[in-house]
Every structure is written in C-alpha cells, then in structure tokens.
Symmetry: C2
Subunit: 443 residues, 2 copies
C-alpha cells in the first residue's frame, strides 16, 4: 500500500494503520510533517521550523510496517498501479495494491502565476522562511533609505486573502510593527507601518459566521490592520498592487512586501487522476470522489484532504485528518474481509483563528467564542496537537516571548533577503554624510 | 564612528562604547549577531537559528547612540574616510572619523575554490542550514537506493580539518548516525555510516596540547570517527575526495557529503586596506597591525579579531571580543584626551571543544580537563555567553533532547536538499516492485 503526502491526511492515514499486517510506503516531497496551521508563526519569527515540522520518519519510527520515501510524485498510473517519484538525481517507481493520495494543495494565483514572485504564499517551510526574510528584511532595507516615499513603500505590507491564514498573518505583522520592532531603528518608525488586508468577499473569516467575522474585523482594526473587504487584487508587481473596489474604483497601493493567502489549488496530481478515470474536478482542482473517498471506478484508490471534493467539505486540517483515517480504515476492512464502501462522515470539531495577542475567534459546535476565552481554547488545542513534548515546551516558551512583544526566531538568511530586490545594479546610493554625522560629541 | 561587522569583535566594540557621546554606525552583511562556536549545532539539528543568531539591532536596541545598517561592505577608502556598503538594490556611503574593521574571516580552499561547491564550510547561518540539508538529506537519498556501493557513498561523511570546528562536527555526525537516526530507515542502517576526519597536521586540536589532543582522538574513535591525521586532501569533487597520506600514498574515498573545516582566510577587506596603507598581510590574509590594533599610519582605523595579525594571536572568539573592546576603549580615550596607543594585551581565558556526548576537552589557564568535567565547564560557559534568557532555556532544553539521542531541529528545506545532486536528469531509476512488495499480509 502507498500513501502520497506527509501532511495531516497522509500522516493520520498511516497512523490509523497502526501495526496492521500491511506494508506501507509513504512518499512525500518534504521529509517533514508540517503543522500547517502554525506556519504563519514561523514566518513572523515566533516559532522555529523544528517546533512545527518534525521529521516524518521520526514520528513514524515505531511503525515498523511503514517505509518513508522522500520524493516529488510526478506520476500516478492507475492502470499499471504505480507511483513515480523523483528526488535530486533519482527517479523511483513504486507499485501499489491500495493507494491513498493526500498531496494537499498549493497556491492558486487565478491564472496569474507572475504574481507568485512578488507575493509568495504560505504552504511550506521554505515559503515561511522566505516570508520571514521579506518581512524583517523590509525594515532592514527601509533603514538604509532617506526618501520618505521609498521608506513608506517598504513599510507597507499587503496581505491578500481574508481567510484564517490571511487574518493571522496580518494580525502578526501588526504586532511585529507595533510591539516587537519599535526602538530598534533610527530612521524608520516601525509603528508607522501600514498593514492592509484585502478580501474579495464582503467579510473576513467567512466560515466563522457573521458575529465572529465582525469581532475579528474589529479586533484587526484595533491592532492596526486596515481592512479592505469587497476589494479584488487585480495586479501584483515588484513595488505594489492594483485593486478594484466593490464599486468598480481602481486604485494602486505602493508596497514592497506582499503575502498571498487567497487562492488555493489542489495538487496537480488531482487533474492527472481525473484525466485517467474521468472524475470531475471542481474550480480549485479538487477531485470529485465517491462517498467513501475513493476514486470513481477505482475502489483501491482514495483521495483525501485538500485534494478531495466531497459534499462541500472545506480544505481544513480536521477534514484531512478524518478523511485520511477513513480511507485507511476502509483498506483495513477490505483486508479483513469486512464490508467496505462506508461513506465518510465528517465530524466538525470547530474552527479557530488567532487575531491578536490574547485574542482569537473560535467556533466549536454551537459555541461561538471571541477574545480571551477563544484564545485560551486555541492555546490548549494547539498544545495538544503539536507533536512531541519538546515542541510543546518550546512553543509555550516562544509564545511567552511573543506575548511580551518579542520574537525568538528572527534570523534572516542571505538567500531569503536576496529575493527582496535585484542585487545589481543598485537602485540608488545614499550618502550618510549629511544625514548622519558621525563621531564628535554630538549628543 | 563606524564599526564594520556584527560578530564578536564588532559587537563587543560597540557594547564597550556604552552610552558614550559618540555616534556609532555598525555595518554588517548579516542582520544577526552569530554565536559562531555553536554553529555546528545548528548544522547537526540540535539548535534553531534563533538560539544562536539574535537580531543585532535587538541586542543593541538600548544603545541609542548606535545605528545598525545591513549591507555588504565592498570598499573602505582610507583617504576619503568612507565605507561603501551594498544591500539588495542599494549602495550606501558612510563617512567615518574613527573606524573599527571586524569583518572576520571566511573559508580558504587554498586556491581551489572549486572545492567549495562540494565541501561547504561553516561560517554563516546559511552555511549551517545548507550543511543540515546535506547531512539529513544524504540519508533520505540513500534510502531510495538499492545499489550497496551507492548507499555506502551516501553514508560516508568526510570532515576536512581537525581544529575545534572539525572535531565538533565529526563528533556530532557520529552521534547522529549512532544515536539519532537508527530505527528510522528501512533500507539504510545509519549506524553503519563512516565518518572520516582528515587533518593535515600530526594531531587534532593542535592548540590544546598533546595530552588533550590524544584524549580527544581516543574519544572520537570511541564514538565511531575514523581519524586520518597527517593526511592532506588534494581533491574534492561531487562523489568523493582524493587524499595523500604522510608517506606519499594517494588514495580516494567515495563520499557524497563533505564538510570543509580546514582553511580560514580573513575578509578580503584586509587586502584592500593593506594595499592602501602598505601594511603586511600574512598567509591567511590577515593584516599586520600596530600593537594597539591600529592600522600602520592610520591611528584612526583599527582592525580586530580574525582579520588582525598580531603577536601570533589565534583567530578565536576571545581574541575578537577583547581586541574589539580594546579598539573601542582606545577611541574613547582619544575623545577624552587621555593618552592612547596602549598595546593590546590578550588574556587567554582558555579553549574548549565538545567531542561527544558528556565529553569535552578544555584548557583553561594551567588547568587541562577532559571528559565529563570539561563538558560541565563547556556547558556553564556556553550558557553564560549565549545572549538572552530564552536562548539559554531553549538551548538547555535542546541539549537535553540531544543527550537523549534526539535532534530538535531537523527540518530540511527544499532549497538545502536541492544542492545535494543534480535535479535532472536523474542518475538512476529504482523499481521498488521486487525489492519491496506492498500490501498483502506479508508480515
């Protein structure tokens, strides 16, 4: 049996198999299992990579029936029942009897892939480290400037998309500029930064209901985020974005730092599978599966998590975990000779998002929480779900630092900061001679 | 006044200035202050970047007389008294009255810069993350192979240079293969890895004296490192190294993973300064300074730390810290009108290196410690010198994980693993069909 992907869907599927007498090969592009809901905290300097991305093979080391292979799955052949994956310098073909495809989703720039370079998204550790470099690097580069217009451009942060990721990252950038960075710069005043959150729909956090959306919006404004709902981003380039408001007015915002948290597109493996079995794809490239999460005409193949289109279920961690488990359970039942093809039933355990320090919104069952109580629930749930004692303790410690306005993980690598602007030729030259007299008893 | 570099020399110089009535501009290529002696622990997955590389401007935020600029210093003009630095898209010219140059050192491949691609060194956070990717990535790629010769090549780790960095990294790779990784792979047996440490001289840790060198050598062998002293590495390519033993015998070791911890070369700014003032450069590109660390003929310019050649002082953290402080004190005395040109006096506070778990060597004053007592001293000293409470606590926690055989920070980014082998075309294709039957009740 083969599992593609080491995210929530893949990992929970493999763990459901336990020590069952099945040989499992898990193939994943990353050697780590990513706790994706906390990725924005790596990007904003709160957590280290290790806290949210343990090595998959370490997590699964005691499951001796599991073999973990690192590789980018480029081809699934439903007729030959093989999975082809590539790693640097190496292609591997793995046959399967049963298959669970949990390759997740990437960004969708709605056909404008040229946006990607200027507005990176948030799906992998590499994405988060790139964004970290751009956020902290923006202030480093602003500090070198003397032209107020250029400084303002560096200090304007645009977040595109008002779902949980967009809201959380906008809130954290605001905290960063208001609480972490002030006092560290001499030219730039980080507290004067603009953080603008664009959402095409009428409200942020649409899945949370009107009351919580309103509370989140109010809270975002309180911490300094400018909300622009009903506004579409139609252009993204090196120095800014072009937007169209609900009333059709077009405007331009000059901003060096942009984050894409809008469109999501299922792994292209979905389209590949659909082409082979005739299944339908939805607008996000998700594949329409049978009620048991299997592929039409291929009861031996399951598609779960963000890649699956079933009964309008959202692309959230809980759906991935539960559908991964369901698919694994189905395979085990077939091996045992028990009746299969049970429909997948999703239990909605709720939804939550951090908006600011000590403030979150949470929708759990019939409960709608906002502010501090929601934040406490968030803290508890995330401590439970983080993998490993050390990760929990370090995360708690790093969160304590962040509540105090600090950031534990601000290290910006050269490769990350280099993406900010073309290295040569320099745009401009500053002479600090006049602006900044050195030496002498000037103070 | 301008300080070039945010390492030990630059940081200690700036801190020595305290709140003195001097305007200081610190210019550094990295936005972080690196605790370089622990860099190998970032490379081997023990510590996160944030623990050893806090943002320089955060460390210095309360020194209101200091301005921190991020930029690569490309030119120092002694006649015009200016420093030119570049950042992405930006060149900056900063004039100075006094200058402290503490730009440190990089790797020297002894004229063979083509070695660099295959045997990265250990000087920056980027270096450490690249090496982390190569170390953990080597096992990921080995696990995909079926040819024993290819697997062995992935499992052979060559460390070039038997100083503290080489010894520490070799010891940690051994721990990794013997204690962290076993049980996580199905094809590869990490404990069968070869770790080979090459040192051109007759012994490892030459600065520590014969007794401690012997102890360190014995301890390295105990944990599984093969020592090859008196052996020169004369060739480094993608798949291995060529070496010449003391008796002239040439041999070849097949190894995909190589670490360079041998040659050190002072920043090229040294040569630039020497050309302008006629000072001498030693074999490592270090500039011969006056007894007070100033540049010959330029009492307003000081060269400290790894860039300075003075009385045979070694390129270690303590020398950088103390010479940086000395230069700053000299500048303060001149501003106060006190007599200057006092010669720099180095107080040797000792030397230490971790060899394996709970085992170190330390040479402090007349004391020569080895094994557990030396390890305790190491632990204490490093806890004291790490910057910030959170870094100390996290480091202690991460060290506790490492003593238990774990590694907290194993996350390998795609960009790091990509350097391991050419992405296309693949070297080979494995078919896991025969080697690894899937599904079925085979266990």
């Amino acid at each position: 049996m083969v599992v593609v992907g080491s995210g929530f869907g893949g990992l929970f599927a493999v763990q459901e198999l336990g020590r069952a007498p099945v040989e499992v090969t898990m193939i994943s592009r990353t050697a780590y299992h990513l706790f994706q809901p906390l990725l924005y905290q790596v990007a904003t300097g709160i957590l280290s990579e290790g806290s949210i991305a343990p090595a998959t093979r370490k997590v699964l080391r005691r499951q001796h029936n599991v073999r973990v292979l690192t590789g980018d799955v480029t081809r699934i052949d439903l007729a030959a029942r093989t999975v082809t994956s590539t790693a640097p310098g190496k292609a591997t073909v793995t046959p399967y009897d049963s298959l669970i495809v949990a390759a997740g989703s990437g960004h969708s720039y709605f056909g404008r892939d040229d946006f990607a370079e200027h507005a990176p998204g948030m799906k992998t550790i590499d994405d988060a480290l790139t964004l970290r470099g751009r956020l902290f690097g923006a202030f480093e580069l602003a500090e070198l400037e003397t032209d107020p217009a250029v400084i303002e451009r560096w200090q304007t942060f645009v977040v595109i998309g008002g779902g949980p990721t967009g809201v959380e990252i906008a809130g954290q950038i605001a905290e960063l500029t208001r609480r972490t960075l002030p006092g560290e710069f001499r030219t730039v005043d980080p507290a004067r930064s603009r953080i603008i959150l664009f959402e095409a729909g009428p409200e942020v956090l649409p899945g949370f209901g009107e009351r919580l959306s309103d509370k989140a919006a109010r809270e975002l404004r309180r911490v300094g985020v400018q909300l622009r709902t009903g506004t579409k981003v139609v252009g993204v380039d090196e120095t800014g974005v072009d937007v169209v408001a609900a009333d059709g007015t077009r405007s331009r915002i000059e901003a060096m730092s942009k984050v894409w948290a809008a469109g999501v597109a299922a792994s292209p493996l979905g389209a590949q599978l659909a082409a082979q079995c005739g299944a339908e794809l939805d607008h996000a490239g998700r594949i329409a599966v049978e009620p048991d999460c299997s592929l039409p005409g291929h009861p031996e193949v399951f598609v779960v998590g963000d890649m699956m289109s079933l009964a309008g279920l959202p692309g959230v961690a809980q759906v991935a975990m539960q559908s991964g488990r369901h698919a694994a359970a189905e395979i085990l039942r077939r091996l045992r000779g028990a009746p299969t093809r049970r429909p997948f039933r999703y239990r909605d355990r709720g939804n939550m998002a951090i908006v600011a320090r000590f403030s979150a919104v949470a929708s759990v069952g019939r409960l709608r929480l906002a502010g501090f109580p929601a934040w406490l629930v968030w803290l508890l749930v995330h401590l439970i779900y983080l993998v490993g004692f050390r990760s929990r303790l370090t995360a708690l410690l790093d969160w304590a630092v962040a509540f105090g306005g600090g950031r534990s993980e601000r290290t910006v690598t050269l490769s990350a900061i280099r993406g900010l602007a073309p290295e040569t030729p320099p745009h401009s030259t500053s002479d600090h001679r006049s602006a900044h007299p050195t030496d002498g008893r000037s103070r």
